[in-house]
């Protein structure tokens, strides 16, 4: 009896908090997303009723051009930014794990450092490097005749991508390094005996064996991309290119806290979650398909 109830007793504190802060809000959000509010009178003083709206909020969310555009923008952002970041993280990890790397501990810590800086602070830091008149980078580019407006409507998305890349490359690099360290030494020895070059070792041994870590970092990055919020929201005040529904999460935020339309915000949040799930599933599918093809 006792032995069977022990795990539940030990799990109880976690379960209560988990149910209260994760499960209940998710259930409520799904519930909200199927409801809408009816008002009467000039300012709703004639009364307010909640009604079941079926998929009305979802239809409206997906027919909201701004919201659909914001998802498209994030997919574009993800394809470019996640690719660049994962390639950079992998290259850095492989370089730091080669036998003749100098000071690997120091460089690992240095590359990881940006992750320790909160996204909000990082955005403020970088914005000072983007703003014309304040930024040394813009000044130097100006001297060589390059007029780049980092905060312009077409450029600002890539300025944000740069901040995100700067923040997370080191973090992803560490995950990949952890997996590299798990590769048994015998493989390297065998490769050496067969006379494989360093490049050949990376391509034939290291890369195939760090696939799970790469998959993990890619999926985390896809989810992170869809949830992009703090960076664009902060840069909104500096760039005319960022509208209040620039990313899906900003759109949901706007509907919940600025337009006071909780049903719509909940529907958007559910759509974001399902999209993240689907994209992750697609990434996993591609991964296992290429695995089978080999």
């Amino acid at each position: 009896m006792r032995s069977r109830s022990a795990p539940w007793v030990l799990l109880a504190p976690f379960l209560v908090v988990f149910i209260g802060t994760m499960i209940v809000p998710i259930v409520m959000a799904i519930g909200y997303s199927f409801s809408s509010v009816e008002r009467s009178g000039l300012l709703g003083e004639g009364g307010l009723t909640n009604s079941f709206a079926g998929f009305e909020n979802y239809v409206k969310a997906l027919s909201n051009a701004n919201f659909v555009e914001s998802i498209g923008r994030m997919v574009l952002f993800g394809i470019v930014q996640v690719t660049v970041m994962i390639v950079a993280a992998t290259v850095l990890a492989l370089l730091l794990e080669t036998a003749n790397a100098k000071w690997p501990g120091f460089f690992r810590a240095t590359y990881f450092l940006p992750y320790g800086i909160p996204g909000v602070i990082a955005t403020i830091l970088w914005s000072f490097l983007y703003i014309p008149g304040l930024s040394p980078i813009v000044d130097v580019l100006g001297w060589v005749g390059l007029e780049i407006d980092f905060l312009g409507p077409n450029m600002v998305l890539w300025s944000i991508a740069n901040i995100v890349t700067w923040t997370y490359t080191g973090y992803n690099m560490l995950i990949i390094i952890a997996q590299l360290k798990a590769i048994p030494g015998e493989l390297y020895e065998a490769a050496k005996i067969d006379g494989a070059s360093g490049f050949k070792v990376a391509m034939a041994i290291q890369l195939p064996l760090i696939r799970p870590a790469l998959m993990l970092t890619i999926i985390f990055s896809i989810i992170g991309t869809l949830q992009l919020f703090a960076e664009p929201r902060l840069m909104q005040t500096m760039s005319a290119g960022i509208t209040s529904e620039y990313t899906p999460n900003m759109s949901a935020y706007a509907f919940a806290f600025q337009y006071n339309d909780v049903g719509m915000a909940a529907a958007q949040a559910v759509i974001i979650a399902v999209s993240a799930f689907l994209l992750s599933a697609v990434a996993l599918g591609i991964s296992s398909w290429t695995e089978k093809r080999r």
């Binding site: 109830s5 539940w8 007793v9 109880a12 379960l15 209560v16 149910i19 209260g20 499960i23 209940v24 259930v27 409520m28 799904i30 519930g31 909200y32 409801s35 509010v37 009816e38 008002r39 009467s40 009178g41 000039l42 300012l43 709703g44 003083e45 004639g46 009364g47 307010l48 009723t49 909640n50 409206k60 701004n66 914005s127 000072f128 703003i131 014309p132 008149g133 304040l134 407006d149 905060l151 312009g152 409507p153 909104q236 005040t237 500096m238 760039s239 005319a240 290119g241 509208t243 209040s244 529904e245 706007a254 919940a256 806290f257 600025q258 337009y259 006071n260 339309d261 909780v262 049903g263």
Partner: protein, 446 residues
Amino acid sequence: MSRLTRRSALAGTGAALTASALAACAPPAQNGVNVEPTIPASDAPVTLTYWSWYKDLQKVCDIFNGFQDRIQVEVTWIPGGDGGGYAKMLSAVAAGGGPDIGHVDMRSVPEFALAGALTDLARYGFAEQEDQFEPSAINQVKVADGIWAVPQDYGPVATFYNREVLEEELGLRPPATWEEFHETAGIVSEAGKSFLTLDPSDGYAPIAWVMQSGATWFRPEGDGWIVDMTDEPSMRVAEFWDQIFAEKIINTNYGPQTTPWYAAAAEGNVLASISGSWADALIESVPGGSGKWAVAPMPVWGSGVGYASGVSGSSSAVVLANSKHPAEAVEFLTWMCTEPEGIDAMIEYSGIGWSTAKDYIGEARKQPSEFFSGQSYNEEVIVPMAEGQNLDWTWAPLMQRVSTIIGDGMTGAANGTVSLTDMFANSQREIVQIMRDMGLDAEEAR
């Protein structure tokens, strides 16, 4: 020992939580605070709670707390409206709590009323205090017969300009009319500078322009709203700015009083800002600008159409729906916003932009300003701006949506993808549809 094992207790807790979650699966609806009988003033001393994002507002309230002992006011600081303050207040009210008094931009007051978060102050005798306020201020918080807030601070629009560069270097005058604005902006642009900058995603900028031009975008009629964004005053503004955008004579990369704007203004590359009166305090932080700047009226439409100015930005104090002491709250707020003592304290401690009281701008605002070239600009410029407002203007209960739609549209106009004239017409259609989706009765003007 009962037979209640921990597991069944846990299961029970979980089930109860899930059940309450499912029961709560609808956004909270409003209480009928404005149809229930009014709450009489209390006999015993009361304590009012007040949520605001003004700095040091407690010091203002302490003056009030000091000279009488029936009402004590306690202030809690909250983040600014869009920075989370509104969400916090609306969530608290929806949960049945919240403070007695809240801080809301005047333009967002109808939105709060629509969310069922406000007490109609007209039911607590506030209509008798109406004539103590500047008509253009009190008008901003009225919808039909209701008065939904106490006006606290607002921003009649004026032109703040770099006198040294504009007048002494370029030999120009601040534009008195929009036609002159067009010429001036062109000349300044040829000189490699920008007369002003605009954040095209800021939907409230064109709203201030059409307000001045004489438009009434939202008109309550009976139980419904007439949305009219394509009348002559609106089209006048749209055509004018379409021309400005087409000629690319102003900078549309960032808004006034933003970090890049300060950098450019300090170098004399941006010469002006047509902003609410509260911009004076911000512009005073332009590095090295002291004695070089000055203030002029907002450019007007020649030939006697439209008004002297519009309104940009404002604050008001609202009595939230769950307040147990609305009568006392109205008494305190009337003191704070109309008595010279309260107004001076709000200017000194909280830095309000412009007093909403009639005939009292605040002692500090009667002095000439060293930064603004020794000008007594408050009395010379801002007072006439406050008096020359469009009194027909009413805020709709979805200004956040409207400002986003207009801001997104103007972003397109600045990039040349759509004209403002078309954008206003499209927006009118879209806004009416949204109002109907919200369950409001709305139609486009014929």
